[in-house]
């Protein structure tokens, strides 16, 4: 391979397709970078999952048996930070990288080197988070929400987490700029925005949310940093500041953040359901408008996370009304998916199982969110296990199930091999059952009065905690099956070869115009979209 003979006008993929580790370090190829994001996310999912096993081991029975209370707080905090920033968000970016260019008929993302840099920041940030467990004082134990002024009391692990959050935020912002530019500028001729598939649409909207709110998080954690070390009093009343201001700033980021974590999932479901119903999505433009409405509304509801801080009546009422409104576009989406299934010709391969499972369990999470939106009820349920149940229903049964669905759906395209269908179904059913065994009882625990972020509890909460812990161990083990399935189709290269389109009803460009696996550089000539 000679730099002198490089001819950038003709990308012959075998001439200068680097190999070995340097390929992965220097790649600007959206498929490689998508793969890197997905493997990274999988690794972080295992680490975050291990922390969850630690949490549920302590909560298996009342009393302190396994960890001391400070370490328990570190477990809950880092489980949250790692799952949100290390597992869920990078997984969706991995999907964006693999799928957006192919689905819009573009040869790659707009900015290849920016794309590479966006990815490689993440393992560095992840290492900071993991190392924080081993510095004096351990990882931060202030909860993933990092409320002030508790954060001022934390050791250097808190500073490592702040640094990691800055880096991950920068990665997200750069990635979002890339996605927006790609979608707005590089669609194939004939693909107007209103003919673009739902998955790129959801990512276009998500990318704007990310650019809007990641800087706000950066602000909040920087003020925390200066309060900790440089004598400022942003969140310290004695110096003229206000701890509640931290909460406003954090949740102004935090609420759009949870929509950032679900909208791409909605996009994946919107691709899977029509494919397995063999019918077009029922209301394409409604789905686009509903997604945009959810995104816009997400900016005006943040204080529903703060209903017990002592807000005046006007504030409580405004945020209650705005929050319940989000149920409208979300309901529109669910109804549209059902109308897509209705009178279709349905088959239930693994991706469709995940999509149907998603609709069922995510909707339950939506209902508990609606209940939490009602201020007086929230007074009882805020900071209890009811909230823990709610967000795991929408994040695990929502985001994670959508991610699983997407991986089973697109793995044949990415690797050229079918995954093991029988094992895939086992993974789905085991996850579905154990997920519900783990998290459904938590609704009752919250209603009965169990607070969250506690390593021990009163005796009336013992039964359901034991059930939840058993479910959690089962759910955790079931995910090992998933990794085996992925390794089988990728690294071990076992399984039948996948055709260009194994899914009878799938109609987007990657299925209709590209082989499985697609060439390293696809759509170098854009397709004509009619």
């Amino acid at each position: 391979m000679s730099a002198v003979l490089d001819d950038h006008a003709h990308h012959d993929e075998h001439a200068h397709h680097p190999s070995g580790i340097m390929r992965w370090i220097r790649t600007t190829n959206h498929k490689d970078i998508g793969t890197l994001y997905l493997w990274f996310s999988g690794t972080m999912f295992l680490i975050g999952g291990l922390l969850a096993m630690g949490i549920r081991a302590e909560l298996f029975k009342p009393g302190l048996q396994v960890w001391n209370p400070e370490f328990f707080n570190q477990l809950t905090t880092m489980h949250g930070l790692i799952m949100v920033f290390g597992a869920i968000m990078p997984a969706f970016v991995g999907f964006a990288n693999w799928q957006v260019p192919m689905m819009i008929g573009a040869p790659d993302m707009a900015f290849g080197r920016l794309n590479n840099w966006s990815f490689w920041l993440l393992p560095f940030a992840a290492m900071l988070l993991v190392i924080s467990f081993f510095v004096p004082g351990g990882a931060t134990g202030a909860g993933w929400t990092l409320y002030a002024p508790l954060t001022v009391q934390m050791g250097p692990g808190m500073d490592l987490a702040i640094f990691a959050l800055h880096i991950m935020g920068a990665s997200s912002i750069m990635g979002s700029i890339n996605i927006i530019t790609t979608i707005l500028n590089m669609r194939a001729p004939g693909m107007t925005l209103m003919r673009m598939p739902m998955f790129p649409w959801t990512w276009l909207i998500t990318a704007y949310l990310l650019i809007a709110v990641m800087p706000v998080l950066a602000g909040a954690v920087t003020m925390t940093l200066t309060d900790r070390h440089f004598g400022t009093s942003f969140f310290n009343a004695a110096g003229g500041g206000d701890p509640v201001m931290y909460q406003h700033i954090f949740w102004f980021f935090g609420h759009p953040e949870v929509y950032i974590m679900i909208l791409p999932g909605f996009g994946i479901i919107s691709q899977i359901i029509p494919a397995f119903a063999r019918k077009p999505l029922f209301g394409y433009s409604s789905m686009v408008y509903a997604t945009a409405s959810i995104a816009i509304l997400s900016f005006i509801v943040w204080a529903h996370h703060m209903f017990t801080v002592g807000m005046p009546v006007a504030g409580l009422l405004f945020f209650m009304y705005a929050t319940v409104l989000i149920a409208v576009p979300t309901g529109v989406k669910v109804f549209n998916w059902l109308a897509t299934m209705w009178r279709g010709s349905l088959t239930f391969e693994t991706p469709m199982l995940w999509a149907c499972g998603f609709i069922f369990v995510f909707t339950m999470g939506g209902f508990t969110g609606l209940i939490l939106a009602i201020v007086p009820v929230d007074i009882q349920l805020q900071d209890t296990y009811y909230v823990v149940a709610h967000f795991h229903y929408v994040l695990v049964a929502g985001s994670l199930f959508a991610i699983f669905g997407g991986i089973y759906f697109w793995l044949p395209k990415w690797t050229g091999r079918m995954y093991d269908e029988k094992l895939g179904k086992w993974h789905f059913w085991l996850s579905m059952i154990f997920f519900n065994v783990t998290f459904f009882p938590m609704h009752f625990l919250g209603l009965a009065g169990m607070p969250r972020r506690v390593p021990d509890y009163a005796l009336q909460f013992a039964d359901y905690n034991m059930v939840a812990s058993i479910g959690a161990f089962g759910f955790g083990l079931s995910q090992l099956l998933f990794f085996y399935i992925v390794l089988k189709a990728t690294v071990f290269a076992q399984g039948e070869k996948a055709p260009a389109n194994p899914w009878e009803g799938a109609e987007t460009l990657e299925w209709t115009h590209l082989p499985s696996p697609p060439p390293y550089h696809s759509f170098e000539t854009p397709p004509q979209v009619r």
């Binding site: 801080v309 005046p312 309901g331 059902l338 279709g344 607070p451």
Partner: protein, 379 residues
């Protein structure tokens, strides 16, 4: 795995859960205040509406999954887009939401109305206990700290757990039945939250700010709650216990407490014998200090300093008194701290310090600390 076996397995799990859980609680705690009752009913209404929608939506979905399968020969009917339907299923949910928000609005207005209370009590959240000050109304002037009373031996499994494990304190907040009590909430260090489920009250306790909430308990009894905002390592170990007494019992309690207060004030001035200090010192140490420094005084390496042979404990008593009153930062890591214990009484502090100076082989020169020494150090 065939569908039938899957159903049997799921049914088995469900049955097992039902048996286990016949005794577990599934709903909010029985309400004893008008607000708690409103909340209980509002929740039931919300749950009912959601359940109806759930059944409606998933009946449709499961029917479709059953009837529209390719495997039974169903062919796809490729209809799509229908503006009327989209409008209907936007407007109807919107109307349902108004139906939910309307009753909720009334309860919000009610729960924020803290005017004209019969009794005003300030609760201060500390790491990790609650301080109560009766500010106005019958009992005015009373002041005490309530700490978790569950012994560490129960927490660590060395003793069987008592009925109110983790929900008992050494002092209870006491209020009269049928009177409107306004709670003022604040904190001494980080954000805590005062929550009693049976009252339907939860209000964050924010350092440097005062917020309020109110309740009117309609039934005598003992009601238990917990701190509801992560506040550090013992967030799960700072419960709230409220005794609701009849008017006469409350009056009796108030006068008994006032007598104790003046006795304790006298106690602050009296000179105690070493043996008395050691006896109440051991209790004060176990209740307030052992949670970090351990009952053995040995602390935990790299987390909580050992008091055995400690320079502070063996040195001049003024230094130890000052440290206990004001706390100390950065022993092991720059931002770790021993929280200030100024909320405890002079007597408790003096006794606990005396205890540390004469136990585990410690034999300090200044081995007796009187409550008066602590009182003087507060100035």
């Amino acid at each position: 795995m065939r569908l039938k076996s899957k159903l049997v397995a799921a049914g088995g799990i469900a049955a097992a859960m039902c048996c286990e859980l016949a005794t577990a609680q599934h709903n909010l705690q029985p309400p004893v205040t008008p607000i708690a009752r409103d909340i209980y009913e509002l929740h039931l209404l919300m749950l009912g509406i959601c359940a109806v929608i759930f059944v409606g939506v998933f009946t449709v979905m499961f029917y479709s999954i059953y009837a529209h399968r390719k495997s039974v020969g169903h062919k796809a009917v490729p209809f799509h887009e229908n503006t009327t339907v989209e409008v209907v299923w936007t407007i109807v949910p919107f109307i349902i939401l108004i139906g939910m928000a309307w009753p909720a609005t009334k309860v919000v207005l009610s729960l924020k109305d803290t005017a004209n209370p019969d009794l005003t009590i300030k609760a201060t959240g500390y790491q990790w206990k609650w301080g109560y000050d009766y500010l106005k109304g019958e009992g005015e002037g009373l002041s005490f700290v309530a700490t978790l009373a569950t012994p560490l031996d129960q927490i660590y499994g060395r003793e069987p757990k008592a009925e109110h494990y983790l929900l008992e304190t050494d002092q209870h907040l006491v209020v009269p039945v049928g009177k409107k009590v306004r709670m003022l909430l604040t904190a001494g260090d980080v954000i805590h939250s005062w929550w009693v489920p049976a009252f339907g009250v939860k209000q964050d306790a924010i350092p440097g700010f005062v917020r309020d909430a109110w309740f009117k308990a309609e039934k005598e009894g003992v009601y238990r709650g917990q701190c509801a905002e992560l506040c550090g390592k013992d967030h799960g170990f700072m419960p709230i216990v409220v005794d609701v007494l009849s008017a006469e019992q409350y009056t009796a309690w108030v006068s008994e407490q006032k007598k104790k207060l003046s006795a304790a004030a006298g106690d602050s001035n009296k000179t105690w014998a070493l043996a008395e200090l050691m006896e109440s010192g051991q209790k004060a140490f176990q209740a307030n200090c052992a949670v970090c420094h351990q009952p053995t005084g040995a602390g935990i390496p790299n987390a909580f300093p050992s008091l055995i042979g400690s320079k502070v404990v063996l040195g001049p008593k003024a230094d130890q008194i000052s440290l206990v009153l004001h706390g100390r930062k950065g022993v092991f890591t720059p931002n770790s701290q021993m929280p200030p214990q100024a909320a405890l009484s002079d007597t408790d502090i003096a006794a606990a310090i005396t205890y540390t100076r004469n136990t585990w082989g410690n034999k300090a020169q200044d081995n007796v600390v009187q409550p008066a020494d602590v009182k003087a150090a507060r100035k």
